[in-house]
Symmetry: C2
Subunit: 107 residues, 2 copies
DNA sequence: TATTATTATCGTAATATTGCAATATAAAAT
DNA sequence: ATTTTATATTGCAATATTACGATAATAATA
């Protein structure tokens, strides 16, 4: 078929996978890092910095937004994207919990 | 086009994305968790537990193997998959570094 | 109001992923 | 040697993702 059978998996597993999917593209990793480093939060140079077309950047931003990682406000004529700190820490904890819960019983 | 332009991104960003991609499917998250919980490391019931066809499970295992997360040895007639502890901790550190390096300058 | 600058959406093509039936392979048991 | 049991590979169909040109929407500026 081709579509993921999400309904046969637990909510926890689906949620972790969904978050990982957002980080599963180098452009989105780069975008997150870049936004976090901008002091003034003016992000209209993302297109130049990343090197993808403007509609593509917009799509990637939308994927990041979907899991609640971005807050956007207006500052003059430019849209200002910032990282949602609370959500970011939430995701960090989810990942960390997953990583630390794995134990190594054999081999 | 459709293919990711990996060449325009840094090695760090590409590697993190590649790892995230493996975790970006609930079946693979579930598989990793299940394997880690099996004391005797006999994993031939993965097909029943996860609920996907045997070739599909095999493919997912292969994706996990590709990033070095699995060690496999034989025990009797059954193939025994275990988590590669060193690699696992390596990935945990990569993710943690990424998460903690992000700062929140604005908004 | 017209222009300019910036971001969003639409439409579409190329590529990747997911899933499984059929089949192959490998090792143990009969 | 043949059967059984478990995993891997192949081939293919369905769906998802990635990317961008064209265009729309939005807001500041002239």
């Amino acid at each position: 078929m081709g579509a993921s059978k999400t309904h046969i998996f637990s909510t926890t597993h689906n949620e972790l996978a969904q978050i990982a999917k957002v980080l599963a593209h180098p452009a989105r990793v780069a975008i997150l890092e870049y936004i976090s480093r901008q002091e003034n939060c003016i992000c209209n140079d993302l297109v130049d910095v990343i090197g993808l077309a403007q509609p593509t950047i917009s799509q990637h931003l939308n994927e990041i937004k979907k899991i609640g990682l971005l807050k956007g406000t207006f500052e003059g004529k430019n849209l200002c994207y910032c990282i949602n700190q609370e959500r970011w820490e939430e995701l960090q904890h989810s990942f960390n919990a997953f990583f630390t819960n794995i134990n190594y019983n054999c081999c």
